[in-house]
């Protein structure tokens, strides 16, 4: 990507629900072609930040620039055109229950591209193959496991070859092998196609392997932002706490997840 302007820019984003302030002025800027992780505990406002960026919740203040276009006040037809350059993987896949996996992936293609049916079918197969879901093309979402739904959701998010990909908790509930495959896929998308990836997560596993930089949200504000190693070096108490807690939880959860990260799991006790 030769474009030097950031793929995503958020300025002073404020979200209030009634009298409760969920986001109290968040700034962030994601250069094109970067993998950025938005990190935070539950209730930190990280999911609301994602919703705010995507226009899924009303903003009480601030600006969002996506691929150089302001999201606030953008006419609906323009917004729809802009969203064709963006892919979103929702937490549980958000597949349409009345459509098969293949039809789900085909939906954005049918909606926004004038392609012959044969080409659509080939595209759907290639997207499903990317996420190792070829066998599930004709299954309905109700027949899939949680991890499979997520992968199918990713295939749908990639259908239009987006320039920016948003992922909400992509590795939560995935087994370590699938999680690793997902990480590799995201890295490939970034390296080969210059896709900008924004990941919202509370899991350490998604962070260290692939993230270029992270932004940590706590209590509706930015606690830290920057390259992962640098942020960890800075010794910000909340960040340290978070990493310490997550390492412990991961060590307890699975040995292979820890091995994946190059950590030595504590074999002595739980």
């Amino acid at each position: 990507m030769t474009d030097l302007s950031p793929a995503l820019e958020v300025r002073d984003l404020v979200v209030r629900y009634g009298e409760r302030t969920v986001l109290a002025g968040v700034d962030m800027s994601v250069p094109a072609g970067e993998i950025r992780v938005i990190l935070g505990g539950s209730g930190s406002g990280k999911s609301t930040l994602l919703k705010g960026i995507l226009g899924l919740t009303d903003l009480s203040g601030g600006e969002v620039n996506l691929l150089g276009q302001p999201m606030v006040g953008l006419p609906e037809s323009e917004r729809r055109r802009l969203m064709q350059r963006v892919g979103v993987l929702f937490q549980n896949g958000a597949l349409f229950g009345s459509l098969t996996v293949g039809e789900n992936v085909a939906l954005p293609l049918r909606e926004h591209r004038r392609l012959p049916e044969g080409a659509i079918r080939e595209l759907v197969r290639s997207k499903l193959a990317q996420v190792s879901m070829s066998h599930a093309e004709h299954l309905y979402p109700s027949e899939l496991s949680g991890g499979m739904k997520k992968r199918a959701g990713l295939a749908r998010a990639l259908a239009l070859d987006p320039e920016v990909l948003f992922c909400d908790e992509p590795s939560a509930g995935l087994d370590p092998q699938t999680s690793l495959n997902l990480d590799n896929l995201l890295l490939q998308l970034r390296d080969r196609l210059g896709v900008t990836v924004v990941i919202v997560t509370h899991e350490l596993a998604s962070i260290e392997g692939i993230a270029d930089s992270l932004i940590m949200i706590g209590a509706g504000r930015v606690i830290a932002e920057g390259p992962v190693a640098e942020v960890r070096r800075r010794g910000i108490p909340q960040v340290d706490d978070f990493f310490a807690r997550m390492v412990k939880a991961d060590a307890q959860a699975t040995v292979s997840a820890a091995a994946l990260l190059g950590l030595q799991p504590d074999r002595g006790g739980a």
Binding site: L54, L56, F90, F96, E111
Partner: protein, 380 residues
Amino acid sequence: MEAAISRTPKPLTATEVPAPPGQPQLWQLSGALDAGTAADLQRRLSRQLHKQAGTLQIDLRGLTDLDAAGAATLVDLWRLGQARGVDVQVAGAESSILEKLQQFQVSPSLAPEPPPVGTFEALGDAAWANALALRDFIVLAADVTVGSVEALLRPHRLRWGALAQQASLMGSQALGIVGLITFLIGLTLAFQSAYQLRQFGAAIYVATLTAISMVREMGPLITAILVAGRSGSSITSEVATMKVGEEIDALHVMGIPFVDFVAVPKLLAMLITVPLLTVLADVLGILGGWIVGMVYLDLAPRPYLQKTVDALVAKDLATGLFKSAVFAWGIALIGLYYGAGVRGGAQEVGRATTASVVSGIFFIIVADSLFSILFYVVLG
């Protein structure tokens, strides 16, 4: 690890230490302050709080054990004291007890309780919420109605597959029940009117009465109520499930309008099926009356039907079908509105579905009354 298999209750004693005048009131605790003893202490000390002012000191030196209930009781006593202007202090806790206090994380500086809402404020809030809900409904109704007209004007944009699927679902779902119920209603109507009309030797007018009641009133009304119960509820639960599963968010970020993708096919399907079901209802209701006429009143089949045809004018059928189309519009939009308005989790889906059916039936009956006035009083 040592496991406690049985637990012998440990007693707690609270002794009031006589304090010299001007000194804070002092209570010494010894034993275990836990779930078994906390209630007793709470009772005794809160009685004390009512009697005194100034400072009440609780000495924890003799405490051997403390659990979450005990810690919560101490905080509760502090809170009670605050309300009565008594400063409740805790002193002399050993480090093991202090650690437990910290472990349970009962901190007196918790978030303040929300102030109670007054009657008028609650009334105002409810009225405002209703006004906002009405506004949301009107916006949705306008969007979907305009979207439907646009789709009909530009048929290549209409999702014919979804429309056909929805219409056949709604129709086939309701066909049996609508047919059976309206047949029975026609039967009952004929029975009831026959009982009266026979006394005047006017039994043949059962035909007129049944036909007009069915076509003008019962056909559209009963059909609409049944459809509200079956298809209106299924619209709400489907849309609500989509909402909970972030499918509607997914449509939004894919740049696919919810109105075109979900709402328009449902509204149009409803507008096609309900009038068709109403025609079926009219026919079966009249059939019910006809059977009563033949079997119970010994009327000849042919004159009965002749009388039926004579009694009905085009206006009856037209107003009946017009009404059923309006009912269909209302059922579909109310179903969509309640579905799209779901916030939170899966338990909200059921609540929304119930609310949708109740509102749908309410709408049908109110609209029906207004139409009766409009068609037969105002327009004569």
